[in-house]
Amino acid sequence: MRSREAETSFEDFVYARSSSLLRTALLLTGQNRADAEDLLQIALERAYRHWPRLCRSGEPERYIRRILANASTDRWRRLARRPEQAMPAAGAEPAVPDGTAKIVDREYLLWALATLPPRQRAVLVLRYFDDMSEGETAQVLGCSLGTVKSHAARALARLRATAVPPAGGPAEQRQPAAGPQAEAEVMEP
């Protein structure tokens, strides 16, 4: 039987931290709100099973972020085994019809981020969105510091190369040939 205290503590945690976790999940899922909410529910349900122990560890949020990152990778792997769903073709107009150069730049960065292999994306999200150090990121992802560094370097290099708005506008680039699903990657321990 789950104690009333554990229930209250879990509810308090969800009320306090769910928005922050949802934002991380959104970036991990390529800003798909339904997928992000699903991912967050999976992570929170796993945490809920062991909530008293997680509370005692004093770092429930770190554990949940770890589940988010791992569940996100698993999700991409599952998708990679299924027939790929084509992204809806954009119309003649750019996705950001009245966008300034700045918005277009952001749009491309986010698109490029979504095309990264899931582990590389997780490293960038934890490092630059959740403001974690390389050491903290390594702990959350359960890998070595060197792996985090190499993933971050490769991911940033790739973003630099791909996140340049083409002359034809963003719409042309919004339908990548292989999509992010094709690049599910296993992170070395």
């Binding site: 509810e11 929170l44 349900e45 986010l110």
Partner: protein, 400 residues
């Protein structure tokens, strides 16, 4: 951070910062998923049991062959309890030194050494707060504010190490609490003297015992004050009696406790509030929780006292003797000769930072008669100093 990394960070924040979760719905969905998961697990287990009847038979055989469970009960001794401690005589030359309410070190042999640097005499026991390695003293709360529930003017706090004869100023505020490591205390203060302590947020800052700030100033939840630092967290007590474990750096309460019995540098001893609930010991250093065989209703006054390192807790059991609980294992050692009748009062405390327990007892009707007992882990009996004829004032605590 390079310009590109900064652009990436800005882009990510711009994309999702406006997104908010629906916590209520999220909790409902999580519970629904959890029920589904539990149902699946139960179904799988039932299927496994039904599929392997032999396993059930084997299980039954194991259960039948196992010995009946052993139950331990702490039962008070029948008949009237004695009014004096019993034990063997203390070896000659043993000197126990105590903190007297007047702000002086006293020994069982009547010697008194005043502690210099403390505020005016006439202190009461409640102005002394035990911190690792020594004590913090202050002048009492102003009587007017004590009645009205306001903070009152800031008080000066002074630290003196165990056995030291001079106190040094720590700072001014409303209250102090022990930190989870030696050489520091948490100093709490209210913004204004007229603030209602039940509804105002106090500030808290970690201060060295020499008065140097060691942390930023944190704002505590309204109506809560620090009980003591436990691990990386603060154990807060609310005016409504609630206790929570709170992270001063970033977060909400990570855990609530119904009834906290005591706390150490990394331990919280608590029950779920019901009379028959067992004492639980949460160790934040290891993450383990130990359930003891003592229930909350068996804990009698005076309040249990944890050793400075939190590894042992001395507790007077209702209608029975004094026991020492190992907070790591939950094992209870009962000290013979310490069960006293209601006609006697009793105080317990640890000698400074040691694992040496001192028990002081006296007769309520004849308060001049005071006994000093001493016990350490491994000993089977209490050792007793010759009876003293001290003043009628109850001694507040014991330190070397």
């Amino acid at each position: 951070m390079t310009d590109f990394e900064h652009r990436l960070r800005t882009a990510m924040h711009a994309a999702v910062d406006a997104q908010e979760a629906s916590p209520g719905e999220l909790i409902r969905q999580v519970r629904r998923r959890h029920r589904r998961h539990t149902a699946l697990v139960v179904t799988a287990v039932l299927a496994a049991i039904l599929a392997v009847p032999a396993a059930i038979a084997a299980y039954g055989a194991i259960v039948r062959s196992s010995p009946p469970p052993v139950t331990h009960k702490i039962t008070p001794k029948p008949g009237p309890l004695p009014s004096k401690l019993s034990g063997r005589p203390m070896p000659a030359g043993t000197q126990l030194q105590f903190l007297d309410v007047s702000g002086a070190w006293a020994t069982a042999g009547h010697a008194i050494t005043l502690i210099a640097g403390l505020p005016a005499p006439g202190m009461r026991p409640d102005v002394f707060v035990r911190v690792e390695g020594g004590w913090v003293a202050s002048s009492p709360v102003s009587p007017a504010c004590q009645a009205a529930g306001c903070a009152g003017p800031p008080k000066e706090f002074y630290f003196f190490a165990d056995g030291a004869t001079r106190a040094t100023p720590v700072g001014a505020g409303y209250q102090v609490a022990g930190a989870s490591h030696p050489g520091a205390v948490w100093l709490m203060a209210y913004p204004r003297p007229g603030d209602n302590i039940a509804g105002t947020s106090a500030s808290a800052q970690l201060i060295s015992t020499a008065g140097r700030p060691l942390s930023p100033r944190y704002r505590l939840p309204a109506g809560y004050l620090i009980d003591r630092g436990v691990g990386e967290y603060l154990l807060l007590s609310g005016h409504d009696g609630a206790s929570v474990l709170w992270n001063p750096r970033n977060g909400p309460a990570i855990r609530q406790f119904a009834d906290v019995i005591g706390a150490g540098p990394s331990q919280v001893v608590w029950t779920q509030g019901c009379a028959r609930c067992r004492l639980q010991i949460l160790n934040l250093a290891t993450g383990d929780t130990v359930t003891t065989r003592i229930s909350g209703s068996q804990v009698a006054t005076p309040r249990p006292v944890l050793s400075d390192d939190g590894k042992l807790m001395a507790v007077r059991l209702a209608g029975g003797p004094v026991g020492v609980l190992d907070t790591g294992t939950g094992a209870l050692t009962v000290i013979p000769g310490t069960a006293l009748s209601n006609a006697a009062w009793l105080k317990i405390g640890w000698l400074g930072e040691t694992h040496r327990l001192v028990i002081i007892a006296g007769l309520k009707a004849n308060s001049g008669f005071v006994q000093f007992g001493d016990w350490q882990p491994g000993e089977t009996r209490l050792t007793l100093a010759p009876p003293s004829n001290l003043s009628a004032t109850e001694l507040p605590n014991v330190v070397p």
